[in-house]
Assembly symmetry: C2
Homo-oligomer: 340 residues x 2
Amino acid sequence: MASRIGTHTIALTREVFLHEGAGIAGKTEKEGPLGIFFDIAFDNDRLGQETWEKAESSLQTVAVRTLLGKVSLQPEDIQVIFAGDLLNQCISSTFGLRELQIPLMGQYGACSTMAQALAVGAVFVDSGAAERAVAVTSSHFCSAERQFRMPLEYGGQRTPTAQRTVTGAGAALLDKSGQGPVIRHLTIGTITDLVIKDANHMGAAMAPAAADTLLHFLSDTHSTVPDYDLILTGDLGSVGSSIFRELLAEQGVTVGQVHQDCGCLIYDREKQDVYAGGSGCGCSASVFCSYILQRMKRQELHSVLFMATGALMSPTSSQQGESIPGIAHLVHLQQPDRLS
Amino acid sequence: MASRIGTHTIALTREVFLHEGAGIAGKTEKEGPLGIFFDIAFDNDRLGQETWEKAESSLQTVAVRTLLGKVSLQPEDIQVIFAGDLLNQCISSTFGLRELQIPLMGQYGACSTMAQALAVGAVFVDSGAAERAVAVTSSHFCSAERQFRMPLEYGGQRTPTAQRTVTGAGAALLDKSGQGPVIRHLTIGTITDLVIKDANHMGAAMAPAAADTLLHFLSDTHSTVPDYDLILTGDLGSVGSSIFRELLAEQGVTVGQVHQDCGCLIYDREKQDVYAGGSGCGCSASVFCSYILQRMKRQELHSVLFMATGALMSPTSSQQGESIPGIAHLVHLQQPDRLS
């Protein structure tokens, strides 16, 4: 059973374990500082497929198969999978997961989708609607570039505020029993729109949503920043992270070193040509499901807020003069009681 | 609390009321046999907007505002809204719901999205994660045509198996207390792929998924067709409905007159030029949230299976030679115990 806390937060009363995760990445991500933490990192971003879109589908297949392999489960042991990606009509998920034959519910929250999928999955397991659920999301630099911006062959220049879509995927197993951290709270985000219209400035579009969701969570749970070891945003990048911290400071909340951002962690911005950092559904998913979950399993982190952020736009909406609204969903993970 | 029944079905133990619905439609739908049942039907499918995409967003705004008006609730009374549509990156939902500031979780299941949104919403209310949740989906003939097929100005001919995307939206309020039918069971669909590749033959692509989900549900609940007053598929259309019945007959299940399809109900195929019937996220949503829900409220229907079907494809996946996989999610609604 779940219950409501404050205006925006859900408290889970049953222990929902984030039992295991798998993070998959591409070549540039393998060469970054988290390269050694990914379960699988490919040297060729085509993954042996004919098209970038099919390569991205393969990222999801590999992520879920790797996850299931780590816990010795079969697809039929999973009652439902919550999956999403950035491609039109979420085809990475459809074609990547088709062969697994797990009951599927597609999720769309742009780059916030991993937090959303974990949140919905947690409610399903908490309620008894599923004993085990999987959350998975992906993105691919090459499929995203040609869908959202320019064909790769065009070789367009990027602005310093632009972010590089991560080639990667992450999958997580939610289980009513098991090991690892448990999911304690969820805060569902609302659309926040500061009327940013520059698709090369996504961090600025998403930062207000992240600040909004975090402030709701802290207020609803009567907690403060020092209560957490890590506040992990999804893919604000370096520019968005600065704006996020400034917006919070205006409200009297200092996150300091407790805040880290998956888009900043995944690349070495001094050595790699990645502008303001990583982005995409696969950014927070691959970082969270490998590096962060491994640190929680090693007891290095006891209480973590995972807050993936999404920019809710399409090329069509931008061409029609619309702004880029943001959204952020929060998942609070903690070591289970018996270990704390 | 929810519990699992059989392999694919969820039984809800708390009463989750489908307290109220609102169905919104466009001009062609207004002229069809269900025209008098829609809460609002527009004479001009532009809805006063500059573009078809913005018109579709307005359908969602109007659907949710009409729903809330009928039950005298404000947006802040709703803890979460599950919304989806067919447009790239689900922009109808984003821009249609932005002003309402209700915590949002985007759903994507192609034309199955209304059943999926109701199912996820029902689990949230059942678990206590939300006291009230709204499910809403939309589609628009003109935005869908130019995204999935051809610009309207091209005037392409259609095959007899093609379906017409419904201009419409439906919104439903799920409430832990209230009136109206309650949601008893949910069956989450798996991807079913009979390797149909013709985007003008969607009914055939979706029919196997609908048959698969219904067979799972009947098996899981140890029930038979006569236990239900209505088995309502989403938008198989006339061709897909025939295939659906044939596939079931092969398994010894005869649905007969108990089966109806929203895509067949919404238009008069003899008088209106709609090929094999209606389709789109807004088809099942607008029909279910107006005509069907009104019949349940009048006690004309006591036990209904609402099973929306989706074709999980994009123009890109079709251009790359992929088939059109289908999916169907089922929601079982019943009059509450005190009335049965």
